[in-house]
């Protein structure tokens, strides 16, 4: 390697190291903040909470009439039977918390601010990235790298400057959830992971707040309202046990269309407005399932409160928030969770593969065909993971599998599916040279070829 590319590599490595240190520092600062607050609360000396309380009281000034500007601005909804002046006043006096400023949170916040919701709280720990723009419609190109809540706040204030917006730039956890949620009337679950869904549910049950829960993936969406009304179930009534981690797909792996998250997010805003105003039939005890592929909406009746629910029954087993990442066996973000299935000698790093490239070998790319079409390495053969797992590969590559020495290299986007594939193949061919590439195409792009596209 020449001097210039060595320098370039050093620069890249330092950048990545600094980014990791910043992230670690940020996490520690948040932990410190949460612990200090908890300590102050428990020792009965809670200046922060007093400030929050005071702030809340100041903001919670009750509006009893609409201004002329309100009347002009909201005229099209004011004339709606069942909504009217009283509905608008209720909205103006309401506070809604939106957890997750992504594909669901952006449209939900947009419609709530536009409709005249008085106070909005926005929760997200993450920053705006390019792959957000197609669905997270409050974040615009110039705001790449900015925190999502700040970016959303700017866009929402342009839409309605009289909306009071509070930013909570943090990952919600069992230490900070109560102090964040307490000041709000309705909570919107616009999150992207299982632990946060259980955390929000439990906190909402304990604080007695309705939870408008939306989710979306690929071409499908789901929506319901938990913890609402005398019989309305909570998330745990429906899902007492979390799903196995391998059964959970996030938008980064499964993909999603922006119009799908947009549809569900807008409906979350609608349910929040109905809850606040007392309008219509709230979607509690029912689950709306949306199939964008056929554009079918379907409403199904789900169970009412579970009499022995661990959290919302008369005799709850859970009386305080727990460690939700531990409970679910998953992280409370949709970021990469690297698998560790293989032994080190069953894996190649990207530089080792680079050296092997010129020698005879078989490179199996186990991504979906739609992903393979986006970008691929020269000589790669597309063999989706499912066709490895159902053993279709055995027949197709019978000649390459004849020799135990012939190198077979398995590749995917980030180095998780490739491990599953290698493990499966090695069960049948334990002595063959079958290895995967650590970090997959992302590592290839980061370390070997910066010109290789990342998605």
């Amino acid at each position: 390697m020449d001097n210039l590319s060595l320098q370039k590599q050093d620069i890249e490595e330092l950048r990545s190291e600094i980014a990791k240190l910043r992230a670690a520092l940020y996490t520690k600062e948040q932990q410190l903040q949460d612990l200090e607050q908890l300590h102050a609360q428990q020792s009965g000396n809670d200046p922060d909470s007093a400030v929050v309380q005071q702030e809340h009281e100041e903001k919670a000034e009750v509006h009893t009439h609409l201004t002329n500007d309100d009347i002009a601005r909201f005229s099209r909804q004011l004339i709606l039977p069942g909504f009217g002046v009283q509905g608008q006043l209720k909205l103006k006096n309401s506070a809604v918390l939106i957890v997750g400023m992504g594909g669901l949170g952006c449209p939900a916040a947009q419609y709530l601010a536009a409709a005249g919701c008085g106070r909005l709280g926005l929760v997200d720990y993450d920053i705006v990235e390019r792959n957000n723009f197609h669905r997270q419609t409050l974040h615009s190109e110039k705001k790449e790298g900015m925190s999502k809540v700040d970016s959303a706040r700017i866009a929402l204030l342009e839409l309605n400057s009289s909306c009071q917006i509070k930013c909570h730039t943090r990952l919600l956890n069992s230490l900070n959830a109560f102090s964040v949620l307490r000041a709000y009337d309705v909570i919107l679950d616009c999150s992207d992971n299982v632990p946060t869904r259980y955390l929000l549910n439990d906190a909402c049950v304990m604080l007695g707040k309705p939870l408008v829960s939306g989710s979306a993936l690929k071409m499908d969406g789901q929506l319901t309202v938990y913890n609402y009304g005398a019989d309305g179930p909570c998330y745990r009534c429906i899902y007492p046990v979390p799903p196995p981690p391998e059964a959970v797909t996030n938008c980064g792996d499964g993909g999603v269309l922006g119009a799908i998250t947009g549809t569900i997010g807008a409906l979350q805003a609608l349910e929040a407005i109905k809850v606040i105003v007392g309008l219509g039939e709230v979607l509690a005890g029912r689950l709306l399932i949306y199939d964008g592929f056929s554009n079918l909406f379907r409403n199904i009746k789900i169970r009412s409160k579970r009499p022995n629910c661990h959290i919302c029954s008369a005799e709850p087993l859970i009386r305080d928030l727990i460690d939700y990442e531990l409970f679910c066996g998953m992280h409370a973000t949709d970021k990469d969770n690297p698998l560790q299935l293989l032994e080190p000698e069953q894996r190649l790093n990207v530089f080792e593969y680079q050296e092997l490239q010129s020698a005879p070998h078989l490179l199996l790319d186990v991504r979906q065909p739609a992903e393979f079409e986006i970008c691929q390495l020269p000589s790669a053969v597309n063999m989706p993971l499912a066709e490895i797992l159902d053993d279709s590969y055995v027949k197709r590559f019978s000649s390459q599998l004849e020799s135990k020495e012939f190198p077979i290299v398995v590749l995917c986007r980030r180095g998780n599916d490739s491990q599953i594939a290698v493990q499966h193949m090695r069960n049948r061919y334990p002595d063959h040279s079958i290895r995967d590439v650590i970090g997959g195409l992302h590592a290839w792009s980061n370390k070997v070829d910066n010109g290789f596209p990342i998605y």
Binding site: L217, A247, T249
Partner: protein
């Protein structure tokens, strides 16, 4: 329709179809001379139409956590779950829960 067949409809939603050859709707004709419960239907599905990793659909004798089962658009928990006896033209819907946003 033969008198000895029990016809039911199966439906899959929100990704559950991916475990069953990516087919969202099926009509089944089961042996009508025996009693069919959801438990025996799950066994039949496992043996006949489940194409992907079974652990993503089943756990022990029942569906894994995170899959809702609806019979004629009603939560199976209200109908006796595994014990529910299938009736002619019942519609059984399996929904994977989504978590993304």
């Amino acid at each position: 329709m033969s008198a000895k067949e029990l016809q039911i409809n199966l439906e899959f939603s929100a990704g559950a179809e991916l475990l069953f050859g990516n087919i969202k709707r099926r009509k089944l004709s089961l042996d009508g001379t025996v009693k069919w419960t959801v438990a025996s239907l799950l066994k039949w599905m496992h043996a006949n139409i489940l194409t992907e990793r079974p652990e993503l659909f089943l756990q022990g004798d029942t569906v894994r956590p995170g899959i809702l089962v609806l019979i004629n658009d009603t939560d199976w928990e209200l109908l006796g779950e595994l014990e529910y006896e299938l009736q002619p033209n019942d519609n059984v819907l399996f929904i994977s829960t989504l978590h993304g946003g």
